[in-house]
């Protein structure tokens, strides 16, 4: 290879400014169009799923069709622009928060470098401020005097198909993790701006399959997988058998049992896929150890709510199902498993959408008598709060050495950490059951980095995008892997359990992923057990 002049090198390998990387931008951001190509967008929703959803009561998902983002013609309705602008007006009137978020940003830039998508791609349109500006520029143009008078000078621009395409690209390069909002001096929740953009896109039939199919399945059979009640029941029973063969303890379970004290709801992935399966086995062991009077439901068989990633109507409907089932069964309250966005919906939107749940009681732990005042309104207690309370009152017996094969760290899942303040409870639990270390300070607690694949972006056709948006998280995991020999990343979210597994497989092979309750159950000591040496805890293969 000859010595190359820098300019020539730059010119020959970087043909021109590319969208996400490649070179310094030479044009204003408004003048750089988005380009869709395989790998940079998630597959669009299948026509039959959209048709089905649109036919369901309380839901509206119009303009079902076959289409591709890579083609110029997105087969939009003729009056698409009017639909979008009317939709925006309705939402500005309906959601005061949106109106405030559109008006009060001073473009200070505090959020700019806090987004994992920006940090992994370097694409300026992934700065939360600029992502919001994609919508704000239209708002200015059509809903503010300054925008009407001064146009582009006032940061306004006209709604075009190009803008619509830009919305699709960047509202699906945001996981609504809300890390940016932690740093906003005005408290702008940029995730809600993304939510509004996605809502508006659905008005003209733009959405992705990885979200709409689970929503459709949840609406039909009650869970993301579209599995029917008997399948759900069978699978929990298989887990019971596994637990029995590992520990000698056969957990007592029931389904749809009226009169149970507590309804337990968790993401369906816990019951069906690794590594969530081990967390679900953990739930079974834990509840057996304390003799909890609880029931599973084959109807409310999903804690996750992908409706949150589409529009407020779908979110409301899927959330209502959990409470309707709690009312039908006559339980006192709901205990929720290790899920992420379920908790955002429950803590931030449930009361407005479906509350008050006054047919339920203020949650009280039947074992310790602790009243969960924080859940007085939602009537739903997080399993980590519940478990931490059990430990605090000495109701669980542990043998920490049963987790001696694990050196753990803890990933704060975005929604429990930032949307409900569940930060210290999981840590308190970990202190009692496993040897663990923290990741660097600016990557945990309220400042936690997203797995990079939340809000329905956990689909494999955008794997590169997921790997780069997950880099900030993986980078911190790598640090504790190298420094402390960490081999397990624990968390309290089902999407995390699935997506961090892929993230670790790429960035930090050798680091597994588990739910906190799996570690609890590994260490738990209970009467009647006949467990042998389980070298890998609940993951030990027993033949």
């Amino acid at each position: 290879m000859s010595v190359t002049k820098l300019e020539q090198l730059s010119k020959s390998v970087v043909q021109g400014p590319s969208l996400a990387t490649g070179a310094i931008p030479t044009r204003d951001w408004m003048d750089i169009p988005v380009k869709f190509k395989a790998g940079n967008y998630a597959y669009v929703a299948k026509k039959d799923k959209v048709e089905y959803l649109n036919s369901q009561s309380g839901l509206s998902f119009p303009n079902a069709r076959e289409w591709s983002p890579e083609e110029d013609d997105w087969k939009l309705p003729e009056d698409w622009k009017e639909i979008i602008l009317t939709g925006l007006k309705e939402r500005l009137d309906k959601f005061r928060s949106l109106k405030i978020f559109m008006d009060c940003c001073v473009r200070c830039g505090a959020c700019a470098d806090k987004c994992h998508f920006f940090l992994g791609t370097g694409d300026p349109k992934n700065m939360p401020v600029l992502r919001a500006e994609l919508l704000r520029s239209i708002y200015r143009n059509d809903f503010t005097l300054a925008g009407k008078l001064f146009g582009k000078m006032a940061g306004a621009r006209e709604m075009t198909v190009g803008v619509l395409k830009e919305w699709f690209m960047y509202s699906y390069q945001c996981t609504e993790c809300r890390r940016c909002s932690v740093f906003c001096p005005y408290g702008i929740d940029t995730a809600e701006v993304t939510m509004m953009i996605r809502e508006l896109l659905h008005l003209v039939g733009i959405g992705i399959n990885w979200i709409l199919e689970p929503v459709s399945n949840s609406n039909r059979t009650g869970n993301h997988m579209g599995l029917q009640p008997h399948t759900f029941k069978d699978n929990v029973e298989f887990l019971v058998e596994d637990v029995e063969s590992l520990t000698g303890v056969k957990p007592n379970i029931s389904f749809n049992r009226k009169g149970a004290e507590i309804l337990f709801i968790t993401p369906s992935a816990d019951v069906f896929a690794e590594p969530g399966l081990y967390t679900a086995m953990g739930y079974l062991l834990l509840f057996e150890a304390i003799g909890l009077d609880y029931t599973w439901s084959t109807y409310a068989s999903e804690g996750g709510n992908f409706g949150l990633f589409t529009n407020n109507e779908a979110m409301k409907k899927l959330n209502a199902k959990m409470y309707a089932e709690a009312e039908r069964l006559g339980v006192k309250y709901i205990l929720g498993g290790e899920c992420g966005h379920m908790w955002r919906v429950v803590h931030q939107y449930m009361e407005t959408m479906n509350g008050p749940a006054d047919f339920l009681e203020k949650p009280v732990s039947p074992i310790t008598g602790t009243v969960f005042e924080n859940a007085a309104s939602s009537k739903m207690v997080h399993l980590s709060e519940f478990t931490a309370d059990l430990i605090k009152h000495g109701k669980l017996k542990f043998d920490k050495s049963r987790n001696s094969h694990i050196k753990a760290t803890f990933h704060d899942s975005c929604n429990p950490a930032r949307a409900m303040g569940l930060i210290d409870e999981p840590r308190y639990i970990l202190d009692h059951v496993v040897d663990w270390v923290e990741m660097p300070e600016n990557t945990i607690r309220e400042q936690t980095f997203c797995c990079g694949s939340g809000t329905g972006l956990n689909t494999d056709e955008i794997m590169e995008l997921r790997m780069r948006s997950g880099l900030p998280r993986a980078n911190a995991v790598k640090y504790v892997q190298e420094k402390h020999g960490v081999n397990m990343l624990s968390c309290v979210c089902a999407i995390d359990r699935a997506t961090l597994t892929s993230l670790n497989d790429y960035w930090t092979p050798g680091v597994g992923v588990c739910g906190v309750t799996e570690l609890v159950a590994n260490a738990i000591v209970q009467e009647g057990e006949t467990r042998g040496e389980l070298e890998e805890g609940l993951r030990t293969m027993v033949f």
């Binding site: 820098l6 590319s18 470098d113 370097g122 579209g226 008997h230 896929a273």
Partner: protein
């Protein structure tokens, strides 16, 4: 005055310019350059760290096997960003030109540009190794995709569930396990 002394003397300047050049391939190069906290700026931080280590190895003529660790730190990131394979590895080559520029600007060390053959050969080896590493990470990425598609599937396909016999509808849904 030998090349090694020249490298020692100008190491900081060379590495800084190299880092600047590599980061200039990103649209938001300003931030990637400025923020020095590796956890707040993983791309900038890892690339800087990797290039620093790599330069030390290149300049002392280390065994090319040792290039792997710093190259992986750099290329694992560029493998999943929107670069062509050439764009991903090309900026490594820039250090040859940067070294020549720096030495030429130093009156006392101008003559060193004539004895850079070994160093530049090392850079060539590093660039070739970087291509291998790029491929290694691309293959790993595809394996991650395959693993994810497989995960969860067996639970359904091997279970006794009667709905397993229903064609099609459930199959695409379970992959990746939400």
């Amino acid at each position: 005055m030998d090349v090694a002394e020249g490298f020692r003397c100008h190491r900081e300047k060379i590495v800084d310019r190299w880092v600047e050049y590599v980061l200039s391939t990103y649209t938001s190069s300003g931030f990637f350059l400025k923020e020095r906290d590796k956890f707040a700026n993983p791309v900038g931080g890892n690339l800087r760290e990797g290039l620093q280590k790599l330069f030390l190895l290149l300049s002392k003529g280390a065994d090319p096997k040792e290039f792997t660790a710093p190259l992986e730190q750099i290329i694992s990131i560029r493998s999943v960003q929107e670069f062509t394979p050439a764009q991903a590895v090309a900026p490594l080559n820039a250090v040859k030109h940067i070294v020549r520029e720096v030495f030429e600007a130093d009156k006392e060390r101008k003559q060193l540009v004539d004895v850079l053959y070994d160093f530049e050969f090392n850079v060539d080896l590093a660039v070739l190794a970087a291509f291998d590493i790029y491929m290694k990470y691309r293959e790993r990425l595809y394996q991650v995709r395959i693993n994810e598609i497989r995960s969860g599937n067996h639970v359904l396909t091997d279970s006794k569930c009667p709905s397993n016999r229903l064609a099609g509808d459930n199959k695409g849904v379970i992959k990746g396990a939400l």
